[in-house]
C-alpha cells in the first residue's frame, strides 16, 4: 500500500455571471474564462450561472461521478438562492430548505464514494445557518479553513468591492467583501484527502480590461493518499462525525425553527390569497346580480352602464385568476416546507437515538433512558 503514489487533483469553481443582455461584457468574459480554463491545467472546472433570475433559474445541485485512477470521486456543483437583504431575509426559509435538500442529496448519494467534492456559489457566509447545517451534517471540510497554503483575497472573500462589477454598498458592513463561494471536500475510510493549496482571483485581472465575473474564482489543489488502515470496508453511510453530534442536533433544531417560521408566513400568505380570491368572487356575483336587475324592470328607463359593467367584471376576473395562481404557488411552498420540517423531525429523532447509543454517552448515568426501541434488539457496536 505504501508504494502506491498519491494523486493530485486541481479543482476550479466560478460563478460566471452569465446573464445575457444584463451582465456586463458577457461575451468577452466568457472568452477570457475559456482561455483561463485552457491554460490552467485544471482537472475539473465547476461553473455556475449561465442563467439568471432566481425563480426562473431552476436552482439545483448537479452531480457527476468520476473514476480517477480507480477511485470513485463524487463531484457536486450547486448554486443556492441569493441573499438580497441580510437584515430582513425574506428568502431565508427557502435557503435553509435548499441547504437541507443539498445535504440530503449529498449524504444519500455518496455512500460508496472514496472522495466527495462540492463546489459552488452557496450565497451564504461561512457561519450562516445553512452553511453550518451543510458542513456539520455531511462532514464536508472547507478548503479555505483546511488549505495548507492560501493565496487570494483577504479572508478568502469571493465577492469583493475591488471588483468593478460588484455592488459595493452592500459590502461595506462586511469590511469590503464576503465569502460565499466554496470548494468543500471529504475523504473516506479508504482515502485521505488534504487541501494543499487554495487560491482566488483578486478582482481585476492583470493584462485584461475587466475581471472574469462579479464573483472571484476559486482554485483548490487536493492530494489523495490511500489510508494506512485500509481495512477494506467502504463506508456504508456518509455523514457527520460522532463527536460533533450535539452541535449537529442544535443546528438542525435551529434550521427547523426557521422552516417553521417560513411555514407560518407562507400559510398566512396563502390564506390572504384565498380571502382575496373569495372577495373577488363575491364581488363578481354581486355585480352579475345587479346587472340582472334591469332585466326585470319594466321598460328601459335607465341606459345599462355597459362600460363600468365590463370593467368591473374584468377586474374581478383578473383578481380571481391571479389569486388562484398565488394560492397554487403558496400551496406548493407550504407543502415543500412541511415536507422539509417532517424530514428534519425524523432526522432529529434518529440523531437522538445515535446519541443514546454512543458509548461515551452510555457511560454517563444521567442520560440513561429506560425506554428503548423494540426493534433494535442488538445495540449497534459502532457509532
Amino acid at each position: 500500500m505504501t508504494t502506491s503514489a498519491p494523486i493530485r487533483l486541481r479543482v476550479f469553481s466560478l460563478n460566471c455571471w452569465g446573464i445575457r443582455y444584463l451582465s456586463k461584457n458577457c461575451i468577452e468574459r466568457f472568452v477570457l474564462i475559456g482561455d483561463l480554463l485552457n491554460q490552467e491545467q485544471l482537472d475539473m472546472a465547476l461553473l455556475q450561472e449561465a442563467q439568471h433570475g432566481d425563480w426562473f433559474g431552476g436552482k439545483a445541485v448537479g452531480k457527476v461521478l468520476l473514476n480517477i485512477s480507480g477511485l470513485t470521486v463524487h463531484v457536486f456543483v450547486t448554486h443556492l438562492h441569493a441573499e438580497y437583504c441580510r437584515e430582513k431575509d425574506l428568502y431565508l426559509p427557502h435557503r435553509v430548505v435548499q441547504a437541507w435538500e443539498l445535504q440530503q442529496f449529498i449524504r444519500h448519494t455518496s455512500a460508496g464514494a472514496d472522495v466527495v467534492i462540492l463546489g459552488g456559489d452557496l450565497n451564504m457566509h461561512p457561519d450562516d445557518l445553512g452553511t453550518r447545517l451543510l458542513r456539520n451534517y455531511t462532514g464536508l471540510l472547507d478548503s479555505f479553513s483546511e488549505a495548507a497554503k492560501f493565496d487570494g483575497c483577504e479572508e478568502g472573500f469571493t465577492y469583493i468591492s475591488e471588483n468593478p462589477f460588484t455592488h459595493t454598498d452592500g459590502l461595506v458592513p462586511f469590511g469590503g467583501g464576503v465569502r460565499i463561494d466554496y470548494i468543500l471536500f471529504k475523504g473516506s475510510g479508504e482515502v485521505d484527502v488534504s487541501c494543499e493549496s487554495l487560491s482566488t482571483t483578486k478582482g481585476p485581472v492583470p493584462g485584461q480590461p475587466f475581471p472574469y465575473s462579479d464573483h472571484e474564482a476559486l482554485t483548490a489543489e487536493f492530494l489523495f493518499t490511500p489510508t494506512k488502515k485500509g481495512n477494506g470496508c467502504s463506508e456504508r453511510e456518509f455523514g457527520y462525525i460522532s463527536d460533533k453530534l450535539p452541535e449537529l442536533i442544535n443546528t438542525v433544531n435551529e434550521a427547523r425553527t426557521e422552516v417553521k417560521v417560513g411555514l407560518h408566513c407562507s400559510e398566512r400568505m396563502r390564506h390572504t390569497a384565498a380571502r382575496t380570491g373569495i372577495m373577488g368572487l363575491v364581488l363578481l356575483v354581486l355585480e352579475l346580480a345587479i346587472a340582472a336587475v334591469p332585466l326585470f324592470a319594466l321598460g328601459a328607463e335607465q341606459p345599462f352602464p355597459k362600460a363600468s359593467f365590463y370593467l368591473l367584471g374584468a377586474l374581478c376576473f383578473a383578481v380571481l385568476l391571479s389569486t388562484l395562481m398565488l394560492y397554487i404557488f403558496y400551496s406548493i411552498e407550504v407543502k415543500a416546507l412541511q415536507g422539509t420540517e417532517d424530514q428534519m423531525r425524523l432526522a432529529l429523532s434518529s440523531l437522538h437515538e445515535r446519541i443514546k447509543e454512543s458509548p461515551k454517552v452510555l457511560s454517563s448515568d444521567h442520560l440513561r433512558n429506560p425506554q428503548y426501541n423494540k426493534d433494535s434488539v442488538h445495540l449497534k457496536p459502532d457509532s
Binding site: 473514476n67 480517477i68 365590463y310 376576473f317
Partner: protein, 490 residues
C-alpha cells in the same frame, strides 16, 4: 459514522419480511365511498400486521392522520411525503424504525391545463425511507407514476419515460449503502413496457410476481381488473380481464459482490494500456454469487481487495393480490388491487442453491436506453412544437388586439374595446405562462437525453472494455461482469 463491519454482525437471519402496496384511490369528493374504504384499509393493515405498508393516492392528510391513529400500536413508524399542490399521496407505515426519509419529485408530470387528467397537481414523486430491519439497512421506495390514458396514442409517453429514468437514477444513486432494496407502487406501466424494462435493467430490481414461489391472486397478477366494482371497463380496453400496473420489486445487496481493486497493482500487470488517461479507467468488477473474494482477486492478480456489501439475500416466497371484492364487505378497498409480498431474508451462503443472479447484460441495457432516448427526443420535438404554438398565440393575440382596438376606439365604443382588451390580455398571459411551462419541459427533456447519452457511452466503454479483460484471463471462470449495480457505472 465509522465504517461498519456489518458483514460480521450477527443479525437474526433467516427472517421474513411482509410488504404491502396499494393505490388507495383517496380523492376526496371524487372517488366513491372514500371514508368507508379507508376504514376498511385501516382494519386490514391492523389485522395483517405487515412489516411495511406502502400506500399511494392518499391525497388528503386527514386520511393519512386517520390511518396513523388507527395503526399507532401496530405501525408506530410512519412517513407522509408532501409535494406538489395537492401532495404526492405517498405514505409509508412501518413496524420498524424509519431512520431517514428523502423525497424526489419528478421533473415532468403532465400539464396544468389538462384539468381532466389532473396529474400535474398531484406532485408525482418517489419517496425513500431508510428502515432498520432486523439490524439490516433497508432502502424502501414508494412511488406513483403518471397515468396512461390512451395506449394507442400516449401523449404523455415522454413524461412517463422521463419519470422512469429519474426513478431508476434515484434508486441507483441512493441505494449504495443498502442491504435490501424494495420498491413498491403504482408504476402505471405494463410489465414489458419500455419504462419498466428501463427501470429493471438499470437497477437490477426483480419483479416479485415473476420471481415468487407461490402466487395467489388475480389471473396473471393483474392489479386493475374488470371484476372490480369501481373500475370502468372502457379504461381497460383492449385488455378485457385486467392489467398489471402495480408492483413490488426487490433486490438484495449481496447479489453482486463489489470488488474494489487496487488499480496501481493491476496496472503493473499490464491489464490496461491506457491507465494514464484517468477518465478511461473502469477497473471495478463484480463477481457472481459463489466466487470467493480471494479467488477473484487472484484472477486479476491483485493482492488487495475490499468487500463493500452485506452477506444477505432476499427472495420472494409468496405474493398475493386482492381479487376485486372483499369478504363481508360491500365493495373493494380501492379501484386497484392490493399486493402483499412475503420476502425471505437469508444469509448468502444459504442461498447459494439459487444459482447465479445475473445482472442484465450490458447490450440489453444499451438497447433499452437507446429506445428510451428515442422517445425523449420525440417528446422534445413535440414540446418545441407546443412552445412555438404558444408563441404564435401570443403574437396572434397582439395583432388581434391592435386590429380590433383601432376601429373600436374610432367609434368610441368603450365597452367593446374594454371587453376585447380583457380577452386579449387573458390570451397573452396564458400564452406567456404556457411558454414558460414548455421551456421548463424542454430543459428537462434535454437534461434527460444528456444523461441517457452519458450512460450509453459508459455502457459502450464497458462493452468493449469487458471483452479485453475477459479474453486475457486464462481461467475457465465465468465471464466477469463489470457492473456495479448500486453505483453509477464509471
Amino acid at each position: 459514522m465509522k465504517p461498519e463491519l456489518r458483514g460480521t454482525m450477527a443479525t437474526e437471519l433467516p427472517a421474513k419480511l411482509r410488504v404491502f402496496s396499494l393505490n388507495c384511490w383517496g380523492i376526496r369528493f371524487l372517488s366513491q365511498h372514500c371514508a368507508q374504504r379507508y376504514e376498511m384499509i385501516g382494519e386490514l393493515l391492523d389485522k395483517e400486521q405487515h412489516d411495511i405498508a406502502l400506500l399511494q393516492e392518499v391525497w388528503s392528510e386527514k386520511d393519512f392522520l386517520f390511518l396513523k391513529g388507527k395503526l399507532s400500536s401496530s405501525h408506530p413508524h410512519t412517513h407522509y411525503f408532501k409535494s406538489g399542490v395537492i401532495g404526492s399521496g405517498l405514505a409509508v407505515f412501518s413496524k420498524h424504525r424509519i431512520q431517514d426519509a428523502l423525497l424526489y419529485q419528478y421533473s415532468l408530470n403532465g400539464y396544468p391545463y389538462m384539468l381532466r387528467h389532473g396529474d400535474w397537481f398531484g406532485g408525482k414523486a418517489v419517496g425513500l425511507v431508510i428502515v432498520d430491519v432486523f439490524g439490516l439497512k433497508a432502502h424502501v421506495y414508494v412511488t406513483h407514476l403518471h397515468a396512461e390514458y390512451s395506449r394507442a396514442q400516449d401523449e404523455y409517453l415522454p413524461h412517463r419515460i422521463v419519470q422512469s429514468w429519474e426513478l431508476l437514477q434515484f434508486v441507483r444513486h441512493t441505494s449504495c449503502g443498502a442491504d435490501l432494496v424494495i420498491l413498491g407502487g403504482d408504476l402505471n406501466m405494463h410489465p414489458q413496457d419500455l419504462g419498466n424494462r428501463l427501470l429493471r435493467s438499470h437497477t437490477g430490481l426483480r419483479d416479485c410476481f415473476t420471481e415468487t414461489d407461490m402466487f395467489d391472486g388475480c389471473e396473471d397478477g393483474h392489479t386493475l381488473i374488470a371484476d372490480n366494482h369501481f373500475t370502468k371497463k372502457q379504461d381497460l380496453i383492449p385488455f378485457e380481464k385486467g392489467i398489471r400496473i402495480d408492483y413490488i420489486l426487490i433486490k438484495a445487496a449481496s447479489e453482486h459482490f463489489v470488488l474494489k481493486v487496487d488499480v496501481l497493482e493491476a496496472g503493473k500487470l499490464g491489464k490496461r494500456k491506457d491507465l494514464s488517461e484517468f477518465d478511461k479507467d473502469p477497473i471495478v468488477m463484480a463477481i457472481r454469487l459463489g466466487l470467493s473474494i480471494s479467488k477473484t482477486a487472484a484472477l486479476v492478480g491483485c493482492s488487495r481487495s475490499a468487500e463493500g456489501s452485506q452477506r444477505v439475500n432476499m427472495k420472494c416466497e409468496s405474493l398475493s393480490t386482492t381479487k376485486g371484492s372483499v369478504n363481508d364487505k360491500p365493495f373493494p378497498f380501492s379501484d386497484h388491487e392490493a399486493l402483499t409480498a412475503e420476502l425471505a431474508l437469508l444469509r448468502s451462503e444459504d442461498s447459494r442453491q439459487h444459482g447465479w443472479r445475473n445482472a442484465p447484460p450490458v447490450s440489453e441495457r444499451m438497447d433499452v436506453t437507446a429506445e428510451a432516448r428515442a422517445v425523449v427526443k420525440e417528446g422534445l420535438c413535440q414540446t418545441e412544437a407546443l412552445r412555438d404554438k404558444a408563441v404564435r398565440l401570443m403574437c396572434g393575440t397582439l395583432v388581434l388586439l391592435l386590429l380590433a382596438l383601432l376601429p373600436c376606439l374610432c367609434h368610441s365604443s368603450f365597452s367593446t374595446a374594454g371587453f376585447l382588451g380583457a380577452v386579449c390580455m387573458g390570451a397573452l398571459l396564458s400564452g406567456a405562462l404556457l411558454y414558460l411551462l414548455f421551456t421548463t419541459h424542454i430543459k428537462v427533456l434535454k437534461e434527460t437525453e444528456d444523461q441517457m447519452l452519458l450512460t450509453s457511452d459508459e455502457l459502450q466503454t464497458k462493452l468493449t472494455g469487458c471483452r479485453v479483460s475477459g479474453s486475457s484471463s486464462s481461467d475457465s471462470s465465468p465471464e466477469l461482469q463489470p457492473s456495479r449495480p448500486f453505483k453509477r457505472e464509471e
